[in-house]
Structures are given as C-alpha cells and as structure tokens.
Amino acid sequence: MIAEAGLAALWLAAALAVLQFVLAFFGLVEGGAPELTRAVRPVAVVQAVLVALALALLILCFLNSDMSVKLVYTDSHSAKPFIYKFAGTWGNHEGSMLLWVAILGVAGAAVALFERSLDHATHIATLGAQAVISFGFYAFLLFSSNPFARLDPAPPEGQGLNPLLQDPGLAFHPPTLYIGYVGMSVAFSFAVGALVTRKVDPAFARAMRPWVLGAWIFLTLGITAGSYWAYYVLGWGGWWFWDPVENASLMPWLAATALLHSVTVLATRDGLRAWTVMLAVVAFSMSMVGTFLVRSGILTSVHAFAVDPQRGNFILALLVIYIGGALALFAVRVGSVREGARFDAVSREGALVLNNLLLSTILGIVLIGTLYPLIVEAVTGEKLSVGPPFFNATAGPLALLLVVVMAAGPVMRWRRENGLAVLRRLAVPIAIGVVALVAVLVAAPGLHPLPLLGLVLAIGVGAASLAPLWGRNLRRTPLFTYGMVLAHLGCAVSLAGMACDSAFLKETLVAAKIGETEHVGPFAVKFEGIDPIAGPNWTALEATMTATRLGWSGDPLILSPQARMYSAPATETSQSAIATLWDGHLYLVLGKQQDDGRWQLRMWWKPFVTLIWAGGAMIAMGGALALLGRTWRSLIMARRKDAGA
C-alpha cells in the first residue's frame, strides 16, 4: 500500500503543478481573471506537501526493506545498516530523481510562503515558471523512472547497494548538492517571472538575491563534501579529478558565483540588468546540463546508475524546452529591459564585470572540455577523454587571475575609482605577497610555476581579503561584509591547500612484510600486523600501522587501512586510513598481498591538504553570514516601514 500511496501522491503533485501553471497563466494574461492568482500560492504549498510525502513513503519502503518494490530490490538489502537504508533511497536513479523533484517542490513552496518583497504579479509569474519546471520532472519520473514500480512475486532478498556508496557521505552530499542545483531553478523562475512582467529592476534583484545566495551556499557545501568523499573513499589520494560528474557540479557553481556577484550590482547600483537575467538562465541551464550528464547514463561513473537512452533523451528534451523557452523569452523581452546605471571601467562594478567575464570564460572552457568527448564520439564514433592536463592548463591560470580581481574588487568604490588609490589600499597585502614569493623561492626552489603562483597569491590575497575591514568600526560593520570577507578568505585558504598539496606532496609505494618500517615524508610507518575483522555486511582484513614523525617524541599515530569484502553485492573495496594532523594528512592505502607474503602499501604525506575543504566550508559559512545579514536587515526595514505607516 505504501508504494501505491507514494505513486498516487506523485500523480496528484503533478496534477497540481499543471493547475499551478494554469492558474498563474490565466490570472496574469491580459483579459484573464486576476482573482485566480490568489490560489497559486496555496497550490504550490500543497504540491510541495504531496511530493515530500511521496519521498517520505519511498524512504519508508527502503526502511522496511519491502522487496516487492523493484527499486528496493535492486538497490537495497535487509542486512544494510539503518543509515544506508535511509540514505540509500537516493543512491539510485529513480530515488535520486524523486529527491530532486521533492526539493524542487519544497523550494517552490518556500518561494510561495516566504517571498514578501517581490511585487504580486512577478511573484505569481515566478511560481508559474516553477510549476512548469516541476511538471517536466514529474513527467520524467512517472513515465520513465517510476520509483514505486512493484515486482510480483516479491524476491526474498535485495541485491544491495554499491559499497562505494555505503558511506556517511551519501546522507549529506546528494541532498546538499541537489538543494544547490534546484535552488538555481528558483533563480531561473525569478528571471522568467521578471521578464514576463517586465520588471527587471533593483527590487527584483534584492528579492532574488537571498535565494541565489542560499542555493549557492548549498552548492558550495555539496561540492566540498563530494570532493572530500571522493578523496577518502576512492583511495587515490586526489581531491579533484576533473571527472565529468565533478564538472557537472562545478559548472552550476561557476555560473551561480557569477550570478551572485552580478545580482549585487543590480541590487545596489541598478547595473547589469540584462546580464543578470541571462546569468540566471545560464546557471539553471548548467544545473540541467549537470543533471543530464549525471543521470542520463551517458558518462562512466558511480553516479551513472543505469544506461537507458530513453531517460537521457527525456532529460535532454526538458533541457532544450526550458532553456530554449527561456532564451526565446529573453530575446523577445531584452529590448524592454532598460539600460542600467553607468559606471567607469575602473570601479567596483568594473571589477565585478571582470569577475563575471573570467567566471564565464572558465565556465565555457569547462563546458567545452566536458562535452567535447561526448560530441566527438556521437559524431565520429571516436573515443577520447579530456582530463586534468587540459583543465589545469586552461582553467588554472584564469582562476589565479580571478583571485587577483577578488583581492582588488572589495576595496574599490562603486561607480568611479582611482587605480592608484586601490594600489595604495592594497600596499600591505602586496608587500606580504612579495615577501611570500621570496620566502617560497628560497625555501623551496624549483617549484612548478602554477603551485608557486597559487601559494604566493593565496597568501597575498588572503591578506587582501581582510582589507575591507581595516580602519572600520568592527562593531558597526554589517554582517554581510563579514560574510564577504570570510568567503573571500575561504577562497585564499582553499587555494593555499591546493597549492601545498601539489607542491609538497610526498608519496611512497612499496611492498612490505609485517614488522618492516617504511618512510613517507617526515614519517616512519611500521607495519605491525594484519587481522581479520567483520562489519554488519562486510568482512575485512585490517592492517595496523604505527606512524612516528621524525624528531617528534610522543605516542605514535595508529592507522588501520582495510581491504573490505562486501557480501551484497559481492565487491572488494579498499578502505584507506587517514590521520588528520594540524599540518596535513597522512594517508595510507592497503593493496594486495603478494605471493611472497608482502603487502602492497601506498602512503602519502599531504601537507595542508585539509585547507582545501576548510576553505570550502569557510566560503559556505561566509555565504551563510551574508544571507543572515541581508535577511536581518530586510526584516528590520520592513518593521520600520510598518511602524512608520
């Protein structure tokens, strides 16, 4: 019954999405019935409740290990720990798409309930646009990816979840990333709404900004979590592989970051009107491209759950309809978007335009690099892959240029600025950067130029990111300024981690006998022994290693990498052991046993690699502070207005 109820809730939600669009359309169209628009918001809320209910019921099926539901049979197992039964709900194609639409529905309801500053017509048009997006994905679920399909007779036991996904990361990474992806749909709907009512102005930007900011925070968290997950679960020691699925999450982030900055120009200075609307369309397009790449099965990845051309075509069709429709609307209405306020080339706006241009260029490069192999294969049948050498050589230098702009932008004045004055304000960070350059050149000669520049810029830009706080009354500085400073500092911190990891990484690959000691970086690692152990649905051989730092007296670190055997599905995985120290990670992977009894060991010393994710968390936290500050201020403004009136 539970599965049928879930399916029914999904059908009802789809019907309500249609109703929501129809009400908005006939309420807004000339000669229509404006009173219809009053029903749009309640419908959006009920639709969200129904789709959330559908998701909850699917989770219930997974928790009950109801094997008569096909999806539970193919992707779950009764012996799985509780958390993976729960999170495993979205560890498969259908479940993850249901999570997608559930978040979409809830986001729509949030816009219906909490958006107060937008004018009524634009608000309704936004909800109408949101309903169209929802409907497409409901159709996708119901017609080609039904998560509630039954099996008759019910098999006694399920096939189990891919062991790579049996990790706490599964509970966190997909939902955060999806909130980010889907949040971009809200920005998109806002842009469509404003184009429909021809109200692309600062009030629209101020209304849209918190939603963009919120989505961007979750996108940042989702990417950071995904990167850390891949880092420890794959046992390859890398934190970013320029894999197409990673690019699929990076591209919306790049677009969202650009949008976040341009929407600020529109909200504060009434500039970049058409540009901001365009970016909102691009940002959601990238979410759709990401969804298409990851969910169509076109890519080889743990994310691609199934290879089914029908699904790929469906998402592709949705992508073409939504993006094509939005671009057509943009083309028709862009003439009615008035030119915004002017500014000089050297000004805060100028820096933000440069930020947007650089982000867009990086986005374009990543998009081309990601799609090129797919297009070449489709056209000529040739197979090729585009990997780190391409992306590092092209996007790397542009990203470094971008952080330089990031250092200068916040200390520039709006509208008009004197270049020399900016340099004067940045004298101290520039001096710090020069000292860092000399220090690094002396301490670590022969460094590769990209990590060298990265490290030096990280230090200089880190100092510069604090500049907006200098000479200010810190108690009177608004919260969103702190947010910006923290987010920019986070970029510098993350960059420092990336540069340190690629510059100072130490690696040892050996075959060792029990009792032997091997060295990696400043550590002596002793191989103490191997023991068999058992978990809830796996058995493992666990090695015990003790690591002592040279010149460090004190208790040795104990690390226990494992080679695991899962029973359902029968798979071997390698569980790496990571010791987190204040200045980096000691990372051990246990390989295979050789015929002569030796074990393969892969060991890395990764100085300051932790800064990468710490920086990511700081960026997200900075966003959260800014969001809090903006919301707080608009609440106070609203209250003052009420009191005055």
């Binding site: 490069i365 090729l384 391409f390 995985t573 390989g591 050789q594 892969r602």
Partner: protein
Amino acid sequence: MKAKHQRLTLALLALAAMLGAVLLAMSALKDQAAYFYVPADVKRLGVPLGKPVRLGGMVADHSIVKAADGVTINFIVTDGVANIKVRYTGITPDLFREKSGVIAEGSFTAPDQFVASTILAKHDEKYMPPQMVQKPKIGRVE
C-alpha cells in the same frame, strides 16, 4: 560614455570572453585530449611516443608478470588482433585480472611498450562503463 555604448561594450566584452574560451579550449584540446585505442589501432596507425592515450582491451591469459619490487606488474593487452606490452606501477583495481577487460591510461615509451599511469578495470555488472558494454570500435580514421 553614453549608456547605450556601455551596454554594447559589455556585450562585446562578453562575446570576446566566450570566443577566447572557445579558442583556448580548442587549441588545448588538440594537445591534451587522450584518444582511445585498441591494440589493432596501434599496430595499424601507430601512436606518437609520449602522447597521453587510453589503451583498451583484454588482459591476455597468463600474461601478468610481477616484478621483484612487489608493486610493478607487466602484462599484455590484446584485442585478438594485436598485442601490446603494458607496465604499471601501483595498486591494481580489485577487478583487474587475466582474461578480463581493462582500460590503461598512459603513454607509449616504445612502439610496443605502454606505460600506464592509471588502470581502470571492468566494474561489476551493474556499474559497467559504457565503453565496456559496446565493444570498442576498431578503425580510427586519421
């Protein structure tokens, strides 16, 4: 500067940035894209030494030879038409074994010696990479 001109300037700048992205990406792709070969392609067309490529095929039966250091292996990748010697230093994936599909990323150090930096083995049935589902297409045209 007139307002109209500023909008035009911005639009042109955006266009220039996009054009720059395309040109930069295409020129880098020429050097950096790693093509997929099966041994027969290599024998027929030849691959420049040192160029990053992916080599796909089957690990030939009884061909895996372990080196004395315990972490280096030599094996032969075959597609039934031609054979290529491959050397790899590192921990092989769990599903890497003889008579099983493999993709090796790396480059040629001699016309018949491939040095792999990464080895990708066939996943389990459910998570099979598309490259493995369809037989690699033979016949790369230059």
